[in-house]
Symmetry: C2
Subunit: 239 residues, 2 copies
DNA sequence: TCTCTCATAAGTGTTGACACTTTGAAATGA
DNA sequence: TCATTTCAAAGTGTCAACACTTATGAGAGA
């Protein structure tokens, strides 16, 4: 009935070739925002973007609506759309939700993990410890990312994985996030090891707790830095 | 600087008056989908909708993009957008994530709940038990909704509340959901009572478990019905 | 000099029209 | 009768132009 068997399409790059402009622009803009190329609070000028990408405003507006739904930008009627600016309170909220999601991922993974998955995680763990020992942050960062991706993907719950990724992306909107880079690498690794141990032991409750705590710990580290930073900045800012 | 003090606007209905068409249409379409007025798999014809609402296709397309991001519809290039159709596997996924979110809500609420909140929940609880005893489903349903809303709002985490609501809405896309109406009312009430007890006791861990289990239990009830329904339908369907 | 008014410019909200793709069925051929 | 081709209708993707709102700055009045 709805079989996708006709000779048209079905090739992997077809989706990219036939992708509507709005989709392409949405990805483009998202990466510009997440990468920090567009700063929080900055305005997204429609005609300016249209000119820049060589398209009309229609597709731009559609892309922006999608970004709005994802929580990356905020639209104000008749004024424009702005890159979302996260308050410390919102960051705390995001981290709490992320902790719950990651805890669920750990729990599900512990219930269904194969030997292959466990050894893959252990290999990543070893590589990360090596990188941490060498203070090689450039190597550590992508490994860390892969490690977390492997866990949420391994949970087998795609909805969960998508949500988790969305939250991680949104957290990139927070200005001070880069400050934590490499903060508490040793602590993080100790937590990683416990997570894998719980998964290997097929202990869902332990795994959930370990994964949850890992994110909660990252939250605490970040908030501590933010507080210190605020204390150092002696000038008082209203609001 | 950005003070909303000028004489323009500031009235509560101003947001509604100045709301762009795309926003209005988005809400309208969403309610049509969630209410079942538009069935899963059904196509959203742009020009048909434009004519129906008396607007052009631009705002319609923008609204649809927002709905796509929220997971209510699925867009296929050059073919159209369709109301999302949930498989049983996806429903299971959604329920698992919802359980984790609701567990977090219970945990947070237990950490910060005031006397007023607890007594409000207890009042709702009593009313629900009364309705259940009278087999008054029309009274029970909105009370149940208010009860759950009070919990997620009471958590104090707006991000969490928004996410939870989104998931509940998405679950309405599942065809067999209505079958559970009133299924296991007594069981549900027993679980509700435990949840409130945990909150009143200010016991975060207990509260989280109780809230989590409540959603998990709802999932089990639904899946059981689905399985029975599938068994009754003797005709074998591929896929 | 300061404040208020008002006109101009910039930008968003919306529209109708055009181009390309897909779909379905009629027409053609074996 | 059946398969293939062709063509028109429907629908989505994109664009350029118009309408309305907001922001900015110059000028008049005090």
């Amino acid at each position: 009935m709805v079989s996708p068997s006709s000779r048209t399409a079905a090739s992997p790059d077809d989706a990219a070739r036939n992708a509507p402009l709005s989709k392409v622009l949405c990805d483009q803009l998202e990466s510009m925002i997440v990468s920090g190329q567009m700063k929080p609070g900055e305005r997204l000028n429609e005609q300016q973007l249209a000119q820049r990408f060589g398209v009309s405003r229609g597709p731009i507006r559609e892309a922006v609506r999608a970004l709005e739904g994802a929580g990356f930008v905020e639209a104000v009627t008749n004024k424009g759309v702005f890159v979302r600016q996260l308050t410390v309170a919102e960051v705390r909220e995001l981290y709490d939700v992320r902790a719950a999601l990651f805890g669920l991922a750990g729990r599900l993974l512990a219930e269904r993990s194969s030997e292959a998955t466990v050894s893959k995680l252990e290999a990543l763990l070893t590589a990360m410890e090596q990188a941490a020992a060498n203070r090689d942050f450039d190597a550590y960062y992508p490994l860390n990312l892969t490690f977390h991706e492997a866990i949420v993907d391994g949970s087998g719950n795609q909805t969960l994985a998508a949500q988790y990724r969305a939250f991680v992306k949104r957290l990139n909107l927070f200005r001070a996030r880069s400050l934590v880079q490499g903060g508490g690498l040793a602590v993080s690794n100790r937590e990683h090891r416990e997570m894998v141990a719980a998964i290997a032991a097929r202990d869902p409750v332990w795994a959930m707790e370990a994964h949850w705590r890992h994110v909660a710990s990252a939250k605490d580290r970040l908030l501590k830095v933010v507080r210190t930073e605020a204390d150092n900045a002696l000038g008082s800012e209203d609001r």
